[in-house]
Symmetry: D2
C-alpha cells in the first residue's frame, strides 16, 4: 500500500488505519446565475436578496470513464443557451423524536399540547444553561404525527453552513429530556430521539415532496434548438420522446425520482468536497422536467433534500477544503452557493446523458460507454 | 494541497487533476457464517453449495466520529450471540430498453413476440460476431411492460464479479439494434437503450421488492438476552418498542426502507473498496426486522440490490485492492463473499445504533453524538 | 327488471334509466366514546370540546357472506374490553390548482407572492360579489409546490358537513380567474383548476401521511386478554405474530396502507349512506397498529382521509337519509360523529378478520369463507 | 322508508334489514374494438384469438351531476376518431400465504423448496379428495419473498369468470394445511393464509406494476384533431400542457396512479353490475398516457388490476344481472369482454374530464361543476 501521512485524519475516525483515495477531475466552466439568500428571523423563511452570474469549475471524484466529458458537454450546451439559473426554495433539517404512550388518547393530548409550544421552545433553546446546546441549530417548526399510541414530533431546524445532524441531535435531546419532561401533560411510556420520520439517510416520500432534510434547490436552463443540434447532436422532438418514455418508465417501476442519473454527479461532488457520502441517496432524490417553449426546451431538476455543508465534518479535511476553495465555497456563508452549484452540475450531466440516450437507438450513449467505459 | 502521484489514476477519469482522500478505520472481527454460491446454467438460479464460518475485519472510509466504535460494538454483541448468518437470494443486473410505437396495439404485439425470444437471444449473444459483445454478461430473463404506446423490455443479466453496467449496455444495444431490428414484427418509432425501468442509481419499489440490480442479500443474528444487556446496555422489550415506533414512523413518512442507517455502513465500505458511490442510495435500500424468539431477539436486514464488485472499475485502484484483500475479497470468485460481508457489517451498525436509540430517552445515542461527534 | 319509482332520483343523474339496489345488514351496537369537535376561526383548527359515549347500530350495504357477522364479532370483543375511543385529528379538503410558466424563475416568483396572500384571499372570498362563490367552503391554508416551470397551489378548505368538491371547485376557480389574474406579478402560460396534487379519488402518499382530503380519524381499543380468548378465539401472541408478518408483507409489496381490509367496511357504509363510492379507495387509506400493553393489546386504525358527508350529494336520497338517521347522523352538525362511527366500524372488522387470520393456519378465516362465502 | 321485497337478497348478507338503491344512467354507444382471449394450459398465458368491433351502452350507478354527460362526450370524441381499442394483458388473482420461522435460514430453505413444487401442487389440487377445493381456481405460478424470519408465498391463480377470492382462499388453505404440512423440509412456527402481500383491497406498487389481482387491461384511442376541437372544445397543445402538469403533480404528491378520475367511472359500473365495491380502490389503479402522433393525440389508460366478474357474488342479484345483460356481459365466458368495456368507459371519462380541465383556466370543468353539480 502507498505510504501516506495520517496526521490530518486522526480526529476523523476511531481505529484509523489508512486512507482511500479517489481521482478527481476538474471540468467547466459552468455558467450559472445564482440567487443570494438569507434566512429571516424567527421563522427561517428564505429571502432572495439578489442574483448574480458566475463561471465555476467543479471537482468530480470518480472512476467512471466518460463522466467528466459528458458533464462538460452538458455545461457547454447550457452556456450556449444563456447558462443555468438556480433557486433555493427551502432550508431545513429535521429530527423526528417519538413519544410512545399506552393509547391514542394520550398521544393525541400530547400532540395538541406540544404543537403550541414552539415559541417557548425557541426561547428555552436560546436561554437554557444546558451542556451541549447548539446556538447554530435554530428551531423553526414543530409538526406532530399521531398514529396508534405514539406521537412523532418533527423538529425542523436551520443549521447555518453545516448539515448539522450533531447539533440538532443535541438540541432535540435537551428538548425531550428537559423541556418536555418538565411540562408534558401526559407521561410517555418511552421517549425516542428519533422514530424514523426524520428522513435521515433513507429516502422517503415526505422529504421528496416537501424537503426538510437539507436544501431544496432547482436548477434550470432553456436549451436553444441550435445548441441541442450542434452540441448535443439531437433534437427537441427526440428529447421529448425520451422524456415521455423515461417518465412513464419511472412511474411504472415505482421509482422515487423522475430523472436520469443525478446520483452520479452528486456522489462525485460529495467525495471531492468531504460531504457525508451516506447522504448520497437522499440528496439525489430528484424531480426533472422538460417542456417545449418558444425557441427551445426548458429543462430543470429539483433536488428537494440536498444535504451539503461548507463547514464541519469531512469538509475540514485538507483535500476537501482545497476542492471547495476551487468553487469559492470554502467556509461560512457559502452553503447556498455550493448547493446551487451542485444542482447546476447535476443538471449538466442530466442534459448530456439524456441527449446521448435520445439519439437513434441511443447510439451516442452506447458509444460513450463502449469507448470510455473506464477501468476494466 | 498535498502532493500525490497521479500515475495510478490516469485511466480512471478524463480531466484528471488531483485526488480526494478519505481516512479508513479497520474494525472487527465480525464472526460470520457465509453461504457459498454458484449460478446454475442457463437460468442463473443461485445454488448454495455449502456454508462456512469466518472472522473478518472490515475497512470503513469515513469521517463520522463514533461510526467505527458503534459498528464494532454491534459485531461484539453478535459474536457473543453465535455470530451472523448471511444468505444470497438473487443475483441480477437489469437494463430496461424501451420501444416506442404509435399506439398500444403495436406495443402489445411487440411484447408478445419478444417474450418468446429468450432462447434465441441467448444463442445470438453467445455466437454473434459483433464488436463489443461481452461473454460475461449472460442474459437470464426478459420481461415486458406495456403501458400506452410503449413497450419496456427488461433484460436481466448476471455479470460475474463485476457490477457490469458497461457489459450489459453493450449487449442490450446489440440486441436492440441488430437482433430486434432484424426480426421484430412491428417497427418502432423510437428505440431507447434505457427507458427508466432499469433501476440504475435511482431507488424504486420494483427493485426494493424483487431485486434485479445487484445481489439480494440477508444477514441475520439471534441476539442473546445476555449480550443485549451486557454489550448493548438495553433489553429485548426496549428494542421491540423502538422497532414498533421506527417501523410505523417509516411507513408514516413514506420511507423506502424499514431500517435505521444502512447507508452509513455501506458508504464507508464502498469508498474504501472502490465501489461506485453513485450506487450508495440504491444499494442501501433495506428491509430490517426484529422478532422475539426463544432466548433472545432475531434481527435481520435484507439488502435487495447491493451493487458490489471485486473486479473492474474503481476496485482496480491501489487503495481499493488493498482494502478488498484485507477481507479476502480481491479479484474473481469473491463477489458473493464480499456482498455477505457488507450485509453483516451493515447489520452490525443497525444493531448498535438501534440499541443506543432504544435506551431511556435515547441517552446512549445522544452521548455517542455528543462525545464523538467527530470533526467540528 | 323490477319496477321501481324513479321520481326520487330524477335530479341525481342525467340519462336516468333505472336503479341498482344493494341489500343492507344492520349490526351492533358498537360501544364508542366519541369526541365532540368544532372548528376554530379563522385557522380551522379542530377543538375537542367534550367526549361522550354512545351505542350505535351500523348499516352495511354488501353482498359478502360473513361480513356482517365478522364485524359484529369485532364490536363484541371491543365492547367487552371497554369499547372504542375515537378522535378526529384534522378536517380539510384540497383543490390544487396549477400555474404553468415558461421557466422556473417565474414559477418561484409566483409562489413567493401567493404564499403571502392568504388573508387577502379569505377576505375576498367572503366579500366578493361573484356568482357561484360558496360561503361554506372556507379557505384555511395555501401551500405551494414549485417543480420545473410550474407552481402547484394547494388550497385547503373546510366545507362543513358536506364533502364539498363542488364548493371548493367554484371558490378556487374564482380565486384563480379573478383574484390571481388581477394581482399576479407574473402572467402564467396556462392556469389549471387542478394539477393532480389535490388528492381527489386517487391514492397518494401526501394525503396518506398528512390528510387534507376529508377527516383524519383514529379509532382505538385496548382488547382485554379475556375478550381475545373468549370472543376472538385467539391470543395476544398469535395476533402480534400476525401483525409482524402482515406489516412486513405490506412493506414488501409497496402497499399503501398497513391494515387488513378497511375498504370492505367503508364500502358497505358508503353505499348505504349515499357517500361518493368513487372515494372508497382514498377513504380506505389506513394505518393500523397493535401494541402489547398491560392487560391486553392496544389496537388502532388511522384513516387519514375519510371523505364523508351528512348533507348534500347522495346523502339526500331516501335510502341514504334513513340509514344515516339510524346512526343519528342525518343532516347538519353530524359529520364528525359520522366519521368516528365509520372509523369504529372499520376497526371492528379489522379486529375480527385479524383474529380469524391469526388462528393456527388461519383456520377460522378459512372456515368463515368456506361456510359463509355468500352468493355463488 | 320505501317498502321493498327483500326476498332476492336473503342469501346475500346476514342481518339483512333493507336495501340501498342508487340511480342508474345509461349512456353510449361506445364504439370499441375488443380482443377475444383464452387462457392457454397449463401456464395460463393469455392468447388473443381474434378481435371484433361492437357498440355498447354502459350503465352508470351514480349521483354525481355531469358524470353521465361527460362520459358520453368522451365516447363521442372517440367514436369520431375511429373508436376505442382494448387489450387484456394479464389475468391472475393472488393469495399470499406467509410462513413464519425462528430465523432466516429456515425461511430461505423453505423458499428454495416450495419454488420447485409448482407442478406437484397443480396435480394435487386437481386430484386430491379434500372438501372445498375448487377446480375453477387454477394455480399458475408460485413466487416467494424471504424477509427476516418469514417466507411469503404468492400463489397466483386464474378463476374463470369470477373474481374468485373464496375459491383461492379454499385452495390455498388446503395447500398450506395438507400439501405443505406433509412435505415441508422445515417446520414453521406459524402459517398464515394471507400475510399482506396478496394485494386484496389495498393498493400496492407490486400490483400497480405487474398486475396479479384481476385483469390487466389497456384501452386506447387516437383522438383526431378535428374531434378534439369540435367535440372536446380544446386542442392537442392544451391537452399536452395539462398532461405535463398533471403527470408532474401526481409524481410530486406521491400519487399511486397517473390519471384523472378513473375511480368515478369504475365505481359507477361496479355498483350497477354487482361487483365488490370494496375493490373500487385497487381496481382504479391506473396509468394513463398521452402522446402526439400523426394527425392527433394517442391517449390510453392501463388498469393493472381490474377485479371484475360476470358470475358469482353480487352479479347474481336481479339488478346486476339486468345491467350486465345490457352490455351482453351476463354469465360465463364474458369476463374479458366486460373488463374491456369497463376500461373503455373509464377512458371515455378521462378524455372528457381532461378536455374540460385543459381549457383556459379550466373554464369548462368549472362550468360543468357549477351547472350540473347535482344534488345539493
Amino acid at each position: 500500500m502507498i505510504e501516506q501521512d495520517l496526521d490530518p485524519y486522526v480526529k476523523a475516525t476511531e481505529a484509523l488505519t489508512g486512507v482511500a483515495s479517489v481521482p478527481v477531475a476538474v471540468v467547466g466552466p459552468l455558467e450559472i446565475e445564482l440567487g443570494e439568500y438569507e434566512l429571516q428571523e424567527p421563522d427561517g423563511t428564505l429571502f432572495e436578496r439578489g442574483r448574480a452570474s458566475d463561471s465555476v469549475y467543479v471537482p468530480l471524484a470518480n472512476t467512471e470513464g466518460g463522466l467528466s466529458i459528458s458533464l462538460y458537454r452538458g455545461s457547454r450546451a447550457a452556456a450556449e443557451s444563456g447558462g443555468f439559473r438556480t433557486h433555493v426554495l427551502r432550508d431545513r433539517v429535521t429530527r423526528a423524536s417519538a413519544f410512545l404512550f399506552e393509547g391514542t388518547a394520550d398521544a393525541a393530548t400530547f400532540a395538541r399540547w406540544i404543537e403550541t409550544r414552539l415559541p417557548d421552545m425557541r426561547d428555552w433553546l436560546t436561554g437554557a444553561n444546558v451542556e451541549g446546546l447548539s446556538r447554530h441549530a435554530k428551531l423553526r417548526e414543530i409538526e406532530t404525527h399521531v398514529v396508534g399510541p405514539m406521537c412523532h414530533v418533527l423538529y425542523a431546524y436551520t443549521t447555518g453552513d453545516a448539515v448539522g445532524m450533531n447539533m440538532i441531535t443535541r438540541n432535540s435531546y435537551a428538548l425531550n429530556q428537559v423541556f418536555v419532561a418538565e411540562h408534558t401533560p401526559v407521561k410517555p411510556r418511552r421517549i425516542y430521539l428519533e422514530g424514523n420520520m426524520g428522513g435521515d439517510k433513507k429516502i422517503s416520500h415526505r422529504y421528496f415532496e416537501a424537503g426538510g432534510h437539507g436544501k431544496t434547490v432547482i436548477a434550470e436552463c432553456t436549451l436553444k434548438e441550435d445548441a441541442i443540434r450542434r452540441v448535443l447532436r439531437t433534437s427537441v422532438d427526440e428529447l421529448l420522446d425520451l422524456t415521455f418514455v423515461g417518465t412513464h418508465g419511472a412511474v411504472a417501476s415505482g421509482m422515487q425520482s423522475i430523472a436520469f442519473t443525478p446520483a452520479t454527479a452528486i456522489a462525485a461532488l460529495f467525495i471531492a468536497t468531504g460531504q457525508d457520502v451516506g447522504m448520497v441517496g437522499t440528496s439525489s432524490m430528484a424531480h426533472g422536467t422538460a417542456l417545449r417553449v418558444e425557441g427551445g426546451l426548458n429543462v430543470s431538476i429539483r433536488l428537494p433534500g440536498l444535504e451539503v455543508a461548507t463547514i464541519g465534518g469531512g469538509t475540514t479535511l485538507p483535500y476537501a477544503r482545497s476542492w471547495l476553495r476551487l468553487m469559492d465555497c470554502e467556509g461560512p456563508g457559502k452553503v447556498y452557493r455550493f448547493a446551487q452549484i451542485v444542482a447546476a452540475a447535476t443538471l449538466s450531466l442530466e442534459i448530456s446523458a439524456s441527449a446521448a440516450m435520445a439519439t437513434a437507438g441511443s447510439e451516442n450513449f452506447y458509444k460513450a460507454h463502449f469507448e470510455r467505459g473506464g477501468l476494466r
